[in-house]
Every structure is written in structure tokens, then in C-alpha cells.
Symmetry: C2
Subunit: 321 residues, 2 copies
Amino acid sequence: MKIVQCVPNISEGTDLKKIDRIVAPLKNQKGFKLVNIEADSDYNRTVITIIGDPDEMINPLLKFIENAKLEIDMNYHQGEHPRMGAVDVIPFIPIKDVSMEECINYANLLAEKVASELTIPVYLYAEAAKTSKRRNLPTIRRGEFEGMKEKITLKEWEPDYGEAKIHPSFGVVAIGARLPLIAYNIDLGTDDEKIANNVARAIRKSSGGFAFVQAGPVFLEERGHVQVTMNILDFKKNPLYRVLETVRMELKRYQVAVLGSEVIGLIPKEALLRSLRYYLLKDNEEYNKEISFLEITNLAKKYLQLRDFDSNKIIEANLGD
Amino acid sequence: MKIVQCVPNISEGTDLKKIDRIVAPLKNQKGFKLVNIEADSDYNRTVITIIGDPDEMINPLLKFIENAKLEIDMNYHQGEHPRMGAVDVIPFIPIKDVSMEECINYANLLAEKVASELTIPVYLYAEAAKTSKRRNLPTIRRGEFEGMKEKITLKEWEPDYGEAKIHPSFGVVAIGARLPLIAYNIDLGTDDEKIANNVARAIRKSSGGFAFVQAGPVFLEERGHVQVTMNILDFKKNPLYRVLETVRMELKRYQVAVLGSEVIGLIPKEALLRSLRYYLLKDNEEYNKEISFLEITNLAKKYLQLRDFDSNKIIEANLGD
């Protein structure tokens, strides 16, 4: 049985009732499970995770996008996270018995319906991108909702589906396929965004850091501290512990500590095990990879200082049965 | 006045008298100084550094290469460092009042003479490379002395100067121009090469690590421990302290410590200051960039655990007066 993870991000992170109405079509469906809804008010963005049979997802996703179109007017949206649409991005991620090629097909299938049935222009990104320039989501999104009005009219930014004209209240959406990535954020014990920026520059690929880390600084007003917000594109080559320990090391020059860290959406079990192994070996503790999801969760909270984390955020804990 | 640094590497690191005879033409010359001779018996390789007026360097360098041709027979050479010639590589590095373009011209000037007067084939590498494939020295050198006999006869590996036939005892030489790099090695308190290999993979670009770090493992038989041997191609983006601290962090899982570290050849003052600043700020000590070469040296020994280091290894300590 094919298992795909799909992680739409919507540009609403504050009004929980509104989020609930938008997400309703993804609830209690046959063939896939809604496993996580993560609203962030500083980002004013919500990350939704569904897992299951991709064939069953397409129509509910279409209804969900339609709801977002009804509920969200991007002309009034403000938040710390860059965004270009009411539903900003929808990746399909192969988990089990499904190829990347198939996920690219699902992305195209959904994109075609979104453009033709909802009159929302779509960019295909990541593995589904038609040109190398469109592989990188931040490149597509540069200019954000406000700039897309103009950008979409340029020949080189013609959308992959739909007309070259943003939807006036929804904007545009990126739909794609990619390997699992880890959205990982580290909280710093300071409100100085310059420090978060320096640390982000030390670790991210684009300024000479780790090859599979994208990172940037953000000030979390509600929490009163800054954060290094990241995507880790290959957790085997750039494991979480290495990123976290490098951040801890860089912070020492500022006499600043890590307050905690968080995973947005889900994380593969293997990504946690790789990091727990480092810490257990370092502490001369026994490492046994046959540990339960609960033990993994407790160790991850201890060593990675994970907050707002429970076993349901581990992908594999949502499979089977 | 133009100042260039030139750092020929020869494939002899054991016989000090022989090295002395080879290097003699570079000693006591007008216009440039021989500032460092660094022989390594495990590598069986010596790194020689001269600094000064590049116009004055060409003829003495030619005589030096001729001496190496007389003294070294590569058919009998063994050592831990990959190599393809009796003189293996000669980079010209712009230091002051001289452009990269000019350094490329000096590389070509020397290469032409080496091929025509000494019948040694030459590959131009790094900034002097004529094709992108030849920018990377390890790519040119793959196969080493033993493999070059065959490799040089392939159309794509035709040398830039000289005939497509290695010199039977000298081999071939790479001559080029590049920005200053730092040859930096970290000694690990273990003889397990697998550990050095894992650590090298964690930090080097080619396996997902820092963008300007090349790294590999080596076992130093004479010293009885392994080493992570590195080139740091951009010390501003990948400062020494970050590399060293990441290595220290990775080693914790093996319960192994760093024994020390070493800089091969010379290092720009700025590269040390950037790292000292990190450690001083971390330790809540005052940082004053107007410190003497001696103070820099002492602090670098303390914080970077540098061995075999003195002020003369700082490039700027060899300029002026």
C-alpha cells in the first residue's frame, strides 16, 4: 500500500476556529490520517500533516484549498514567515512503496485541478519543478504575496498551471514533491536578531555552512526571544545533533545559551535515532535502536531540548495498525 | 612593490640533506625570502614557502625543480600524501599589490620553461586552469604518479605544457594560482583511522559538511595517531575555530580528544585573529586586534592547541623591513 506524507502550509496561525474550518475536509477521511496541525502565531502560519494513500488525498485537498481561499485574504496577512499564498506550499513526500516519480504525478494532478477549478495559479517546485530555477522554494517565493502581482507577469515567472495573474485574495501556491525534510528551529536565549543571523550564517549552506541546511533568523515576539529557523534537507548528512551542537558552540562567543528547540510537522524516527546515538555514546550510555516511541520522545526532549513534542510527531508512530 | 607567496611541495620529507640540496637555489636570493621549510616524514613530503617579488622567483624556481628532478626518483617514493611528481604542486598566491591575473601569468611563465627546458609535463590548476575540470588538484592528481603514465595519454588529460608523456623519474607537476588557503591538520588521540574518516566526512564539503573545507583521514605512523588533514579554502566563511570545535564535538561520541593541531606552511594573521576572537569572547576576555605576533602565537598555541608553530608562520610577520 502506497504511503505518502503531504504537508500543506497555510497563511493563518492565529485564529484557531478559522484554521479548523479550513482543515475540516482533511479530517476523518478514509485512506489517510490527519496527524498534525501546528499553528504558530508569530509566523501566522499553520503546518498541516496528512499521511496515507495519496489517491484518497487529492479531492479533500482541493476542498481544503477552496476553504482557505474563502477564509484567508492575503492582503491583510502579516507574519514572520515569508509567504505568497493563502495555502503557501503543498509538498508530496514518498514514505513507503511509492516513488518520487509518482509523487511528482500527484503534484501535477492536484496543480491542474487547483488552476482549472479554483483559478489559482500554481508553481511546481522541488523535485516536481520543470526548470532548475524553480527547484528552490525561496527563489519562487521571493517578493512574497505583495511582489507576486508583478513577478507573475514576467515571462520567466509564468506559472506552471493557470493564468499569469495572481488570485487577488489568495495569491499563488507552490505544489511539489520532495524527500522528507526536517523543519527544525532552535530558540536562543536573547532577543538580539543579529546574533540569530550570525549563527544562521555560520551553519547554512548559502554562506558556507553545512551543505543541507537552510537557515535564517527570526524574532518571536510572543515568546520574546529570537530563533534560528531551519530546514534540514538531508538528516543523514547533516544530523540534528551536529547542527544543534554547532549552534551551541557558536553561541558561546555571545554568552548566550540555547533555550530549546522544536520540530515543525513530523520527523522520521531515523533522524532522532541518529542524534540520540551521538548523545548516548558521548555520555557512555547504552544505545539500543529497538527503543519505543515513548523512550525516543523522552530522550529527544532531554538531549535536543525539544519542546512541544510528543510521539505522534514521529512519522512511523502514525503508520501501521 | 608586488608581493607573491609561492608554496612548492616536493615529494621528499625524510632525507634532510637531500631536501637542503634541492631547496638551495631558493636561499639567500635578492627580491624574495625563503620563509619556511616543513618536512613531514609520514607524508614523505616537504612544503616550502617563499615570499617576495615574483619576477625574481622564476629562475631560482626553475633551478630548484631541476634539482628535484636530479635528486628524486618517484618510482621509489612512498608516503601518506597523494602525489604525482618529484615537485608535486606549485601555487602562486597574491599577497600584496598583485592581481590573480598576474599570478596566473607567472604560473604560465614558469610552466612553459619547466616543459621546454626540463621536459617535464605541466598541468595548470586552480585559478590558472584552462578548463573547469582542472581547477581541482585532487582531480588532476587522481591515479597519482603510478597512474599518470596511462592517464596522461588520454585526450582529456593532455598536459597544458609539454608532451603527453610523464617524465620517467619525476612524473608531472601542477602549477597554478590561487587565493591563500590554510593547510590545517588536527591530531586525534587514537590510532583508529575509521574515526578520523568519520570526522573528516562530518566536516568536509564533499560529504555535506562546511562549504570551504576539504578533509581526509591519515594515520601518522611516526607519531602513532591519526589526523584529520584539511585545506580550508576560505577562512572567513569557515574559520579555524569552527572547524576545530566541530571536530572536538564529533569526537565526543568516541570518547576521543584532540591532541593538538598544526598549520602547514604559512597562515594569514587575519585567520588567527578571527579564531582568537571567538575564544577570548567565549572566555569573557578582552579582545584587542592590535596585539603583537608573539601574543597571537601564544594565544593560538593555547586555544587551537597548535604545535610546531612560531610567529614566522604568520604571513605578515615575514613582510616589511
